[in-house]
């Protein structure tokens, strides 16, 4: 507090004590007071509506080639132009966004479910099992993520579900470490001891007491995981080893447009690039803000 001038606006009127707020309400207030966080949520909502409701409003063709209208620059009829097969770029952005967002969310959910359970079991049990489970995490974390995902995707990846599974299988490691750390500090607290005395089994302890209290760590990690997964799937698509036709994501669109950059067909690359950057950035904004809002130690007093 370097500013010594008292800011009278924020001092409550004498006597009146505000209603008791739960931790979540406080966190929500903290979150909504962060402009970047609100902007991030707005961008994410926009892209969700754009990808999933957009096709109902805007009908563009991305399935039947139209060779009389290839590589048209943005203009009437095609707000973002057409590509080399005469497909409408705006409609492709919507369709590609569906796949990118679906894979992002799905793989993050898979990663966090596996990671939270792994970390909770490891942290609660301790001892030899804990060491063994954490060495497994160490080993998988040492293997370069993009390499292994590409190799498995070449062999088994083709659909939204399989790619989400592949990405989820190699991104649960960091959440597992974080949840384990959280569980290690929680399991020595009195309420866990009380639950144990009341006869809670291991499974009930994890489900009812440990994971709900580690929820803030989990939620923050989900948002970053979504951002990373959207980026990762765009890499797969860009390198040409992502979804198989007729499914495609934003990365595939960049891949298709790259070779025409020297012809000046900028609308094949930059609009979709903007979509990727904006979505990932929005997720990062939301993640940063959630971390600030949920971590009591970082909260402004």
């Amino acid at each position: 507090m370097s500013n010594t001038v008292l800011n009278t606006e924020h001092i409550p009127e004498g006597g009146a004590v505000g209603p008791l707020n739960s931790g979540w309400r406080l966190a929500l207030r903290e979150f909504t007071s962060n402009k970047l966080a609100v902007a991030g949520v707005a961008i994410l909502v926009f892209f969700l509506l754009f990808s999933f409701l957009g096709p109902f409003v805007y009908h563009g063709d991305y399935l039947v080639a139209n060779l009389s209208a290839t590589n048209d620059p943005p203009g009437a009829g095609h707000p973002l132009g057409t590509d080399t097969e005469g497909f409408d770029v705006l409609a492709e952005l919507m369709k590609g966004g569906q796949a990118s967002l679906e894979i992002g969310f799905l793989s993050a959910v898979i990663a966090i479910t596996v990671g939270a359970l792994w970390g909770a079991i490891s942290g609660l049990t301790g001892g030899l099992l804990d060491s063994a489970m954490m060495r497994v995490v160490d080993v998988l974390l040492s293997i370069p993520f993009l390499f292994i995902v590409l190799i498995v995707a070449v062999k088994y990846g083709a659909t939204v579900l399989s790619l989400s599974l592949i990405l989820g299988m190699f991104t649960w490691l960091v959440p597992a470490r974080l949840v384990r750390g959280e569980v290690l500090t929680l399991k020595v607290r009195d309420f866990v001891l009380a639950a144990r005395c009341a006869g809670s089994g291991r499974w009930r302890l994890i489900n009812r007491h440990l994971l709900p209290n580690a929820l803030s760590v989990i939620i923050v990690n989900v948002t970053f995981n979504i951002a990373d997964a959207i980026l990762a799937v765009s890499y797969l698509g860009f390198l040409g080893f992502g979804l198989h036709y007729p499914n495609f994501d934003w990365g595939d669109l960049v891949n298709n447009g790259t070779e025409y950059l020297s012809d000046g067909y900028w609308w094949l690359v930059y609009p979709v690039g903007f979509c990727i950057v904006a979505t990932v950035m929005a997720c990062n904004f939301v993640g940063d803000a959630l971390r600030d809002a949920l971590d009591v130690r970082l909260r402004r007093r």
Binding site: R135, I143, L146, V269
Partner: protein
């Protein structure tokens, strides 16, 4: 210290064994035997089983794993039947090119990140700090290939200053002299690494700036330049050691994308081409090398931090 070193190396060895099991297991699942590739699609089952027996693909899984580890320890990373060449010889011609691109970019990014982080900490929340933060945050959210494409568009297609492709030579000395072709890949990779590192450097410098010894240095009348260079910089740099050690997986991934976009003849492009050929011995050999480098990077960073920071006392 010695006990810590021994224990730290011990866990690394356990992780390395785990990596070898994982990589071998994956290779065994996706690519049990190259017999089909070698003998062709019309080979009889008898011919295939004979070939497998002759080339050591028929024994028990444990036997095959042991042979694999034995080969790796003797520098034999497998054989690419698609390219009809040993993986070792494929790597030998290329690793220096990749090491040059990644190494120069990493070194440049560290050289820039340190003064930049100190500047941002000293001028915290100024316009300059906010501009740098915005740029790095955007670059952090940007897929690597997009930055490369923008750079190619601006500097190679619009203003024809640099080339759209990296040097195609396989001679490292020629590549090093080819600044017109190598500037774009190196500068872009530097920016992307910087985007990941600079905020850590900034927050480390901010934390250090709040320490009492900085206050003491200022109070005794030391010129600000000396406070920053002698007291702030040397302490604020410590997290960079860990960060560089941890950056190897990201470096390998960035290198892969850069070599694909700029058509640079290193290990990343080899990996990309092998993906298209589904040449699993090459793919998994590079994965193994990358994983070993990651473990070594962590280990060396931990040891280097102990050496650099005498406050760390480990038992």
């Amino acid at each position: 210290m010695a006990a810590y070193l021994i224990r730290r190396c011990g866990t690394s060895v356990i992780v390395l064994i785990g990596i070898s099991i994982f990589v071998f297991g994956l290779l065994h699942i996706v690519y049990p035997s190259p017999a089909r590739v070698v003998l062709g699609p019309r080979a009889s089952l008898l011919a295939i089983s004979q070939w497998n027996a002759q080339h050591g693909f028929a024994g028990s899984v444990f036997r095959q794993y042991w042979d694999y580890v034995d080969g790796v320890l003797h520098g034999n990373f497998g054989y690419s039947f698609k390219l009809n060449q040993s993986v070792t010889s494929l790597f030998a011609g290329r690793w220096m090119l990749s090491a040059y691109l990644s190494g120069v970019s990493l070194a440049l990014s560290v050289i820039i990140a340190i003064p930049l982080g100190i500047y941002q900490a000293v001028k915290r929340n100024s316009v300059g700090d906010q501009i740098v933060t915005t740029v790095t945050f955007t670059a952090y959210a940007m897929p690597d290939f997009l930055l490369y494409l923008i750079a190619i568009q601006v500097f190679a297609l619009t203003f024809k200053v640099f080339s759209t492709q990296a040097s195609s030579s396989t001679n490292i000395l020629v590549v090093m002299g080819d600044w017109k072709d190598m500037t774009l890949p190196i500068v872009c990779m530097t920016m992307l690494i910087l985007a990941g590192n600079s905020r850590y450097m900034r927050s480390s410098a901010i934390d250090t700036l709040a320490q009492d010894y900085i206050k003491a240095a200022r109070a005794k009348g030391l010129p600000e330049r000396l406070v920053l260079f002698r007291h702030l910089m040397r302490n604020a740099c410590l997290p960079m050691i860990t960060l560089v050690g941890l950056s190897i997986p990201a470096l390998l991934a960035g290198n892969l994308i850069a070599e694909e976009v700029f058509n640079y003849n290193g290990l990343g492009l080899l990996f990309y081409n092998s993906l298209q050929d589904e040449d699993y011995p090459v793919l998994l050999a590079y994965t193994l090398v990358g994983a070993v480098l990651t473990v070594l990077g962590n280990l060396i960073a931990d040891i280097a931090l102990c050496v650099a920071d005498p406050r760390i006392r480990l038992t």
